[in-house]
Symmetry: C2
Subunit: 216 residues, 2 copies
């Protein structure tokens, strides 16, 4: 399989974790979102992904878009280890957590949104930073309540085994830290994230560990 990915892309990070957890070897094809124009805006990439967004997973003749759809696809083609629990209500909770992370936080602080704030409102770097932190803090507060208030939360987001919810949580926390959000105050989120990052599948998926990462 090939993963069209960028080291800083939060959505790509989720898929890297899922691939690693399942032990599926993959080739990373870097698509630079920060060059001008971005490599995701080229006709070549748009033929593969008409939205022009990352990531895209290519499995033979199949191209899959959207991190959640890619992870569900991986669950079909390689069921073990399972990243979704067996019972419908448990699956719903894991998918709900993943969707909350994918829909209610990250879309509001993506690079394209930050650029449009500058165009539309003349937003300064300081204002754009505050915007990003507002939505990450609001979003992680909601995730913290979902996790802390539920007896179904265990060592990981759902019970004591890693699920897709963890694969979606950790990239959001790492992104938050990159924007100087104090994530330690989300105590359940922080504990689960720290536990995940002791696992090689998560650690190897970190932005800094990717072949297209710029050395600090």
């Amino acid at each position: 399989m090939q993963l069209y990915s960028f080291h800083r892309s939060t959505a790509s990070f989720r898929v890297r974790i899922a691939l690693n957890l399942k032990g599926i070897p993959f080739e990373t094809i870097s698509v630079n979102l920060t060059s001008v124009p971005g490599e995701h805006e080229t006709d070549v990439y748009r033929q593969l992904n008409p939205q022009g967004l990352l990531p895209t997973l290519v499995d033979g003749k199949v191209a899959v878009h959207q991190s959640i759809a890619i992870c569900e696809y991986l669950e079909h083609v390689q069921p073990e280890p399972a990243l979704l629990p067996g019972h419908p209500a448990d699956r719903a909770r894991v998918r709900g957590l993943a969707a909350a992370l994918a829909s209610d936080i990250h879309p509001l602080h993506s690079i394209r949104v930050s650029r449009h704030l500058a165009r539309a409102f003349g937003a300064s770097d300081t204002q754009r930073g505050a915007w990003v932190r507002h939505w990450i803090e609001e979003g992680l507060s909601g995730i913290e309540r979902l996790l802390a208030n539920s007896t179904q939360t265990g060592l990981f987001c759902h019970g004591d085994a890693v699920t897709l919810a963890d694969a979606f949580l950790v990239p959001q926390v790492i992104a938050a830290q990159a924007y100087d959000v104090d994530t330690a105050r989300f105590t359940t989120v922080a504990a689960i994230t720290a536990r995940c990052l002791t696992l090689p599948a998560f650690e190897a998926a970190l932005p800094a560990r990717q072949p297209d990462a710029v050395p600090a």
Copy 2:
């Protein structure tokens, strides 16, 4: 089942369509997002949905959050009529379309984002309207390319049977029209939407048909 919903909530609209398509009877419990404070911000609602977002589906003792997780849950508990196709690659395409609609358009023009633009940048009504239209037009352009460029698109988003992708598309198009976006220029999107709206399951889910809708 009970659906905590609001007539204008795009995410609730998706779930109403899925429930109707499956012929599952449900009770609507209205949660007014536009009152001050919003009914979704109360402690009572947050006990049910710690994010304080709509919709929530309650099925006996199970509360499910996030429209995509709710629809997947419905697919488990009542498989027929299926809203996801059988083959993994087809399922991935349908889920990818649904995720593109759920993650890349609607979150950028929700009521809470519009309010925060006013607070953070002093955005006027005109500027907020332009913001909303920018993201809807960009988003629907991407969806149009995904649909128009694929031989897998048929009478509906995926082939000639209704899927979850259609249940996610129509609410976004109706929301676009409410913000005065000319959706006719997205010709594939418009044709599929018109076809869906001839079906009672879609028509009965329209905002104006809900018990909490304000008469025009």
